[in-house]
Symmetry: D2
Subunit: 367 residues, 4 copies
Amino acid sequence: MASNTYGKLFAVTTFGESHGPAIGCVVDGCPPGLEIDAADFRHDLERRATGKSRHTSARHESDEVEILSGVYEGRSTGTPIALLIRNTDARSRDYAKIAEQFRPGHADYTYWHKYGIRDPRGGGRSSARETTMRVAAGVIARKWLAQRHGIRIQGFLSQLGDIRPASMDLSVVEDNPFFWPDAAQVPQLEAYMDALRKSGDSVGARVDVWADGVPPGWGEPIYGKLDGELAGALMSINAVKGVEIGVGFGAVTQKGSEHRDQLGPDGFASNHAGGILGGISSGQRVTCSVAFKPTSSLRLPVDSLDIYGNTVEVVTTGRHDPCVGIRATPICEAMVAAVLMDQALRHRAQCGDVEVPAIPTPTAIPG
Amino acid sequence: MASNTYGKLFAVTTFGESHGPAIGCVVDGCPPGLEIDAADFRHDLERRATGKSRHTSARHESDEVEILSGVYEGRSTGTPIALLIRNTDARSRDYAKIAEQFRPGHADYTYWHKYGIRDPRGGGRSSARETTMRVAAGVIARKWLAQRHGIRIQGFLSQLGDIRPASMDLSVVEDNPFFWPDAAQVPQLEAYMDALRKSGDSVGARVDVWADGVPPGWGEPIYGKLDGELAGALMSINAVKGVEIGVGFGAVTQKGSEHRDQLGPDGFASNHAGGILGGISSGQRVTCSVAFKPTSSLRLPVDSLDIYGNTVEVVTTGRHDPCVGIRATPICEAMVAAVLMDQALRHRAQCGDVEVPAIPTPTAIPG
Amino acid sequence: MASNTYGKLFAVTTFGESHGPAIGCVVDGCPPGLEIDAADFRHDLERRATGKSRHTSARHESDEVEILSGVYEGRSTGTPIALLIRNTDARSRDYAKIAEQFRPGHADYTYWHKYGIRDPRGGGRSSARETTMRVAAGVIARKWLAQRHGIRIQGFLSQLGDIRPASMDLSVVEDNPFFWPDAAQVPQLEAYMDALRKSGDSVGARVDVWADGVPPGWGEPIYGKLDGELAGALMSINAVKGVEIGVGFGAVTQKGSEHRDQLGPDGFASNHAGGILGGISSGQRVTCSVAFKPTSSLRLPVDSLDIYGNTVEVVTTGRHDPCVGIRATPICEAMVAAVLMDQALRHRAQCGDVEVPAIPTPTAIPG
Amino acid sequence: MASNTYGKLFAVTTFGESHGPAIGCVVDGCPPGLEIDAADFRHDLERRATGKSRHTSARHESDEVEILSGVYEGRSTGTPIALLIRNTDARSRDYAKIAEQFRPGHADYTYWHKYGIRDPRGGGRSSARETTMRVAAGVIARKWLAQRHGIRIQGFLSQLGDIRPASMDLSVVEDNPFFWPDAAQVPQLEAYMDALRKSGDSVGARVDVWADGVPPGWGEPIYGKLDGELAGALMSINAVKGVEIGVGFGAVTQKGSEHRDQLGPDGFASNHAGGILGGISSGQRVTCSVAFKPTSSLRLPVDSLDIYGNTVEVVTTGRHDPCVGIRATPICEAMVAAVLMDQALRHRAQCGDVEVPAIPTPTAIPG
């Protein structure tokens, strides 16, 4: 499969550079009959959008999605759904002087070595602008998963630098600009971000995504395991440095007697596995956690090299998030949705006839 | 691509159940002319083998690889290389009584729901026995990477339960049964494992893999990023719950001014990125870290359900590692090798003509 | 790989319906550094365009390609190249009454059964309008093949109904609206087509494509053979019912002593194989032949069914070619180009290091 | 996808050389629960086997299939099914002297240029021996298609050199060694073949395959069309030079009013389309026709070159069929079966929920 496509049966191909004419994607494999409207994309795109609050960067894109194909009279037809967003706020002048510099922590150095040519405007293809189309494609996946299987996917920020949630209340996540599950901590986060912005520095973050309602049996052993696909998809998001399923690295210090989730008449007694056993969903909540590095675009100057080997000082003056992890939440959700939908279709292809003999499926608790 | 194949251009398809007639793999895409001999596989398979020491489980397999195709007069011909290992030590009687039970922490419950049928003997396809063929395929990848590009891949155990290496000396890793980088700690580890085995319990572990000599430019943005592929491949190994690249989750609490690896005339000043920027190798050491859960097969009894919904007590009497992470080291190395080789071929396909204008490539230090 | 993508390393994903907002494609895998300009697409798109002469249908599209991504300062960057053409001459009213009818010979009946919904406007996704983007993608492939390998690809009409070329002169093919290799026959063809149009009927055609300059060694045995890929790609063009390589079905009545192309110091003595042996190019001219059915859209009425099972009379009043094979010539060329480019990259991936020991490669004659 | 794998969801990877230790395949994607026994493979393998009659070559292989994985207690488990056949009748001495020669009409010349190395024993990987595993994999597909969908696939020889069937009676096809549909012609064929063998020459053939019972709706537009997939799969068989669907090249001289298959209350009035419209099955019989070239391995001497550029005389003394098309019949059937099964699973993945509103589906006549 090509390098700009994810998914096997629900296949999303994205294209576009940060400051080119447009970004877009082609969603191939959506089942026919799903209601899709251009307005469907607004909510999640706004959640991801820069300019959402003073705590994210100031780029103002309308990010209005145009549906170019695959939808007839408001419903998917089974043919590829192409989505397009014009780049209307591309300020190329901001980036002119970095064309020959290698910004530390960015893909400049590696793109240069790989391709021998690169589009320096706003990071070109390596810009997080690309993730807009992941979110757009994810909207389709989420809608189908919700309507067909009742699946709900919710992400939230689970760590901002050293700050962790003091309590966990998913109902408040959408009410604050940090996707934070503890409303009482929001002032603290605002103060922290204000100080950070003032300092010219940035910080990392952790995002968690929970998927509820995933039926047991999804996931393709051996090399298409649900956890393997999630890890690959999430790690492909800009700035991600780590992925965990369930307790993740916490499993390193667990004993087996503690880790194994006991199964009884009332369901599972715990969910250290994150809803996945042997690469296949168990019916429990699917949980994953993603580490985002701090953005490397800082007002603080740093020495680097240019393409001629000269030492240069790099200062980023453009708009940049002091914490890219914050608005990565809907991006992570979108990737989880895309992976789940792909697995749903793959499962149905091979095992569509499987009828598990009537056994008392335990209530899948706790999440 | 099918679910039992990993890799796009260096494609490895594995097959076989733990207690079936044989396990094997087909390696498709190996360049022609590589010297391959059945003896090449012995070293790594022994490193992975059960029965290596008293600290790993007691299954005794000869694990002698038969080359069925793709090699003529000792060299690869460019046609698929099929490798076969007969299962000679399959004790089916050990597993008879678990056929209808769902062992907590195992794939029994999920395979049952997915397929409606499962081979219960030794875990069937979900057994770690499958990883033998990953190691075998990895041998071919490692050989080609070493000969063609001078790449060296070395894994080691970086955490066993709560124990971490007190010092880091790769030269001792192969001299102890724990792949541990501090020889002085080996007695401590032995005592820990003896106590653990005695208790009937198990523990998790962390494995690190370092790849040196990877040239800059490998990795396929956007959905075939080197880090994304590594994460997907490593997460697909049995019992893995987390993957990190570079500092991994450590990036969550880093500031941007700390994380971004400065580039100067003498090369990179640090390697928080783990040798990958924007999904493409930078020429630095590629580093990744993998979390293994404790095995769920314990002598300690636990309640569970059977396929009829009855409560049953599960006790594992067969041979099992108290820490599966230990011998996972060569498996992780093999997956890293397979990913790198696939990326090498993918890079050459698209960018084989790229000649980066003569720039003083900095010495890639530190690893 | 998804169903709207062809190619493995040179991967072309097309989207769009005949009367939707736009058609487009994403070309993924183009090597970096290739000069690409929007004007490059004009020539081949005009060759394919409806309205080229009175012998093809009257739809007037500007078919101006917009490059949305992947090109920076006139050169490919290695990132996906998205191409877009707006549908400006979509007359939806022409097609309103066929929404519930199954037009004989069309995909109405089968799309209905597959998807349970279809876009009836102009044939929707099953319209030959989609082939516009094949031609556009083919332009990129042809340019790279020509510049990198000196490959020339030329198609021509080799049969129109019962009429066959009396002589073979490729130099005149581009000078007549039939892509016909015998200039003297053009008046005969014009008269034939005028009579055909008058009658309200249509007729089939045969198109040949020749590729010169393909180096020996391209093609992926066993299931990616050059001839297999050509057959699959050409058969996927609308209205194609047959594909031949070299002598094709003529081989059925040949003796082995006649068919096998003798090899001597002056090269091959014949080319019955069509330049492909064992699925791999031999360095001779690659030749293939494609059968196009007559269009089923006729002014002549025909009985059919509607989606309720009622008998209906179908009359096509819209614009339609009396011989779709004529302007299929550049489409066939484009598919051959796409297949060759994909094979070039696949070959380089696995065999980029192969240096065949110096042997006197025979001059590859005749074509 | 790798080059030795066909199919996307029903994925068959074959391996092995003509005179290596073994040939085999891995069938990935078979739904669970299908009854599979080693004896199932015998019938079709015998139909394909050399040594079936005096009219095919004399290699005697037991061709006993060993099932290595994926089957438990006689039923498929959903995991990969590996099949193995040992090469027991490999007479390497027959082929020693051709190691440095390029046999005209064979893949020697092209493999040499591609890989720079080749296994010359019996044609190595390019030998038709590989097709044994296609037939084996096809057995699984045919069984599933028959049980799940009632599909019957039957091939027959439709032309041998200049001889065509005088009548068409499928019921006699399996009763003669030529898979010939007119029993009265069998003596004529025997005399023809005897004379051909005596002359040392060979001849081409045409094979037709019919698939009955394919439901409407299978096939993946645009680049996974049922006809496109059939063409690609059939063209990948050794010695194939042409593929037709329905009337194939006969469509070139048809008028549209003749070609379009009329649809009425009693079903389709004809089947020029070969059961496929717009790349999707119509419910009619799927028909395809395949051209086989005459084998190039002849007792009649021919000049050629060796790898040093010297002129050499090539005489084939080993066993070879004077008409390879004869026993290609079951191979073609197997490829049709594999394509159909792959399409069945792909269809179910995307359109598994589609319920076409109750319309009076016409009886699909004639075949």
